[in-house]
């Protein structure tokens, strides 16, 4: 099942936040999650959504899926702790 179809344990709203807060808040939220849980991040900072958060997830060994919501100019990012 795709990550975006599972129900997230928490939704983190970083809309409007400037770099690097989306990444920082994501890190903080991920540390609190238990194994197997999913974090959904709402983000409208392009560099964070497509660059820094995916790279952080990859390095930490988390699986990640990104959905770009074009009509809202934002991304929904789903990160799962293994």
């Amino acid at each position: 099942m795709a990550l975006k179809d599972e129900s997230p344990a928490q939704t983190l709203d970083t809309l409007g936040r400037v770099c690097p807060y989306p990444l920082l808040l994501t890190k903080k939220a991920m540390e609190k999650l238990s194994s197997g849980q999913i974090l959904k991040v709402l983000c409208d900072a392009p560099a964070s959504a497509e660059d820094s958060i995916p790279r952080y997830a990859e390095k930490s060994g988390f699986s990640l899926e990104t959905v770009k919501v074009e009509d809202k100019g934002m991304w929904e990012i789903f990160i799962k702790k293994p």
Partner: protein
């Protein structure tokens, strides 16, 4: 003789290309330095690749006599790259302050400008505050501090501006070859030929920024009277001065007068950067008017102000020093860049690393 149309076109075009590339590539020197602390070197590799391209290209243009500039009498003459004088106290203090400022502002000199095009109000305020910081330092109540820091100038010999090669006393190209080899070795470890999943890969961005930096050296000489290349601090100041007082306040021969407004070539290019970013973002459907929470807005604005003070004292921002200045091999820019990195790391520790640690307890 430089035509008015080409003066305008070249400035706007280079600004558009720069803004476009920054937005597409998510290029940010602030995060390039920051992520080193978290063992991620992707953005640093993009930055170093840009430096190698700019360094080799700019010096090649200089030595081939391609940096044609006005001789002040209607003709053109081959000029040199503009290298900043070495003012150690200013470069050290200003660089350090600027390095701290970019973390607070959530973006570097180029970062705050191109992100205006993405629609975040915070960066609009950051740019205004950046200008405010610059003016306060150059003309306002911090002028005595500024004058004091730049009062001690260090020369090589009589009055030669120190560069990495004339300090060591070797041929310029030996220094370039060694630096380029070391940087490229590091760049190549990052799999530069792997295609990006989406958007521009980091290596393409680095290459593009480097090429634009070389083009800017050429165009700023040909149309702007001096090969100053890409920078943001001076140009932001000149842009706002032209808007506010109809005069960029640059030496004669480096500006154009149109409809009663005297503006520099660089003020044009800096104006076009957010527009280029806007066009790129618009096509990607990433432009949206947005605003962060009030406390963050205040912090970003304060950061922009601090950046302005640091950049004016230190003689440049992360583009003027860390990309353009570093590639001219001027000692001033290498020193300022080192302290921009240290300032960045200091602030990252207090704003990002320490809060994470405190949370664990």
């Amino acid at each position: 003789m430089v035509s008015t149309a080409m003066f305008l076109l070249s400035g706007l075009l280079i600004g558009l290309m720069m803004g476009w590339s920054l937005q597409r590539g998510r290029f940010c020197i602030n995060s390039a330095y920051r992520e080193v602390l978290f063992q991620d070197y992707t953005m640093l590799r993009a930055y170093l690749l840009a430096v190698v391209v700019a360094m080799v290209g700019a010096n090649l243009f200089e030595d081939m006599g391609w940096l044609m500039q006005s001789d002040g009498a209607g003709g053109m003459v081959a000029g040199e790259l503009y290298r900043q004088a070495f003012v150690p106290w200013a470069n050290i203090i200003g660089g350090y302050i600027f390095g701290m400022g970019i973390v607070l502002a959530g973006g570097c000199g180029s970062g705050i400008l191109y992100r205006v095009g993405e629609g975040n109000l915070a960066y609009v305020l950051a740019v205004f505050a950046f200008f405010f910081g610059i003016v306060v330092t150059k003309f306002g109540f911090l002028k005595p501090v500024y004058d004091l820091t730049i009062s001690q100038v260090v020369y090589v010999g009589e009055e030669t501006i120190p560069t990495l090669y004339n300090v060591i006393g070797v041929n310029k190209w030996i220094v370039i070859a060694v630096l380029a080899a070391v940087m490229l070795y590091f760049v190549l470890q990052g799999k530069p030929f792997q295609k990006a999943k989406k958007g521009y890969s980091w290596s393409l961005v680095g290459l593009l920024i480097g090429v634009i930096a070389v083009l800017a050296f050429w165009a700023s000489a040909y149309y702007g009277g001096r090969a100053r290349g890409l920078s943001f601090t001076g140009p932001v100041r000149e842009f706002f001065l032209a808007v506010l007082f109809s005069d960029s306040k640059v030496p004669a021969g480096e500006s154009l007068s149109l409809l009663g407004v005297t503006f520099s070539w660089s003020s044009l290019y800096v104006f076009a950067v957010p527009i280029g970013a806007y066009l790129s973002g618009k096509l990607l459907k990433e432009v949206k008017v947005k605003v962060p929470p009030a406390d963050e807005l205040m912090k970003v604005m304060f950061g922009g102000f601090v950046m302005g003070i640091g950049a004016q004292i230190g003689g440049g921002c992360n583009i003027g020093h860390s990309l353009t200045g570093v590639s001219t091999l001027a000692v001033s820019s290498w020193v300022a860049n080192a302290f921009i990195i240290l300032g960045n790391w200091t602030m990252v520790y207090f704003m990002l690393i320490k809060p994470m640690k405190d949370m664990d307890v």
